[in-house]
């Protein structure tokens, strides 16, 4: 299950959809909008956008790779786009596997890959009204 959503991600519903016989451990990562940027500025919120068809394909590729490395693992990836406030869930990655070690490894792998490869972008909006800045996961970008 993969999704790019404009409305809040229902993590419990995603998890419920992953539960099936043979699953023993499920690991869920939820990424939440933080109050402070990496440079400690107070954030009012984040604006996400995506190249949706390619993002969904990338999610599916990442899940397939994880399944190749940790057989029996199922992955769900949902990312929200639009204007998010502090404390809201931006991304949920769920890995379900027969045992917990694979579920942890597959979930961490999928989150790392998503942040590196998925065509999704975020702009920080600042509480002090200064112009927002696009932030990449490869380090700070010029304003």
């Amino acid at each position: 299950m993969f999704g790019i959503c404009r409305t809040p991600i229902d993590v419990a519903a995603v998890e419920a959809g992953m539960r099936e016989d043979g699953i023993g451990g499920m690991v869920t990562f939820t990424g939440v909008v933080r109050e402070r940027a990496d440079d400690d500025r107070v954030v009012d919120g984040l604006t996400y956008e995506s190249y949706e068809p390619m993002a969904l394909e990338e999610f599916a590729h990442i899940a397939e790779e994880a399944r190749g490395r940790w057989p029996g693992t199922h992955i769900a990836i949902f990312h929200r786009v639009g204007e998010l406030r502090v404390g809201e869930i931006a991304v949920a990655v769920v890995a379900a596997a027969p045992h917990r070690a694979e579920a942890f490894a597959a979930c961490a792998y999928a989150v790392d890959q998503l942040k590196t490869r998925a065509p999704i972008w975020k702009k920080e909006r600042y509480a002090d009204g200064t112009p927002g800045r696009w932030r990449s996961n490869e380090g700070p970008t010029a304003p």
Binding site: G31, Y48, E49, S50, Y51, P53, M54, A55, E57, H79, A90, V91, V111, L114, K115, T116, R117, A118, P119, I120, W121, K122, K123, W134, R135, S136, N137, E138, T141, A142
Partner: protein, 81 residues
């Protein structure tokens, strides 16, 4: 040929649009689309090294040959999560 340019995030802001048509000479490659846009929007130059290009939804090298009707997406460094 005419291709459709789709731009995201910072590149979208620099171009001033999320989507536009771009006419290129026959035989143009992906990098030629970028170069044509940078003539109109010189601020793109500084972004070249960090930008990936996708043709019809697949990331391609700069020498990828384009065809009439292609979609060329300009992808800044990923920021998801």
């Amino acid at each position: 040929m005419t291709v459709r340019i789709v731009a995201f995030a910072r590149i979208r802001e620099v171009l001033g649009t999320a989507e536009r048509a771009l006419t290129l000479p026959e035989g143009a490659r992906a990098r030629d689309a970028w170069a044509a846009l940078a003539v109109e929007s010189p601020a793109l130059d500084a972004l070249l090294s960090s930008t990936r290009l996708a043709r019809n939804g697949r990331v391609v090298a700069g020498d990828e040959a384009l065809q009439d009707g292609d979609e060329v997406a300009l992808l800044p460094p990923a920021g998801g999560g």
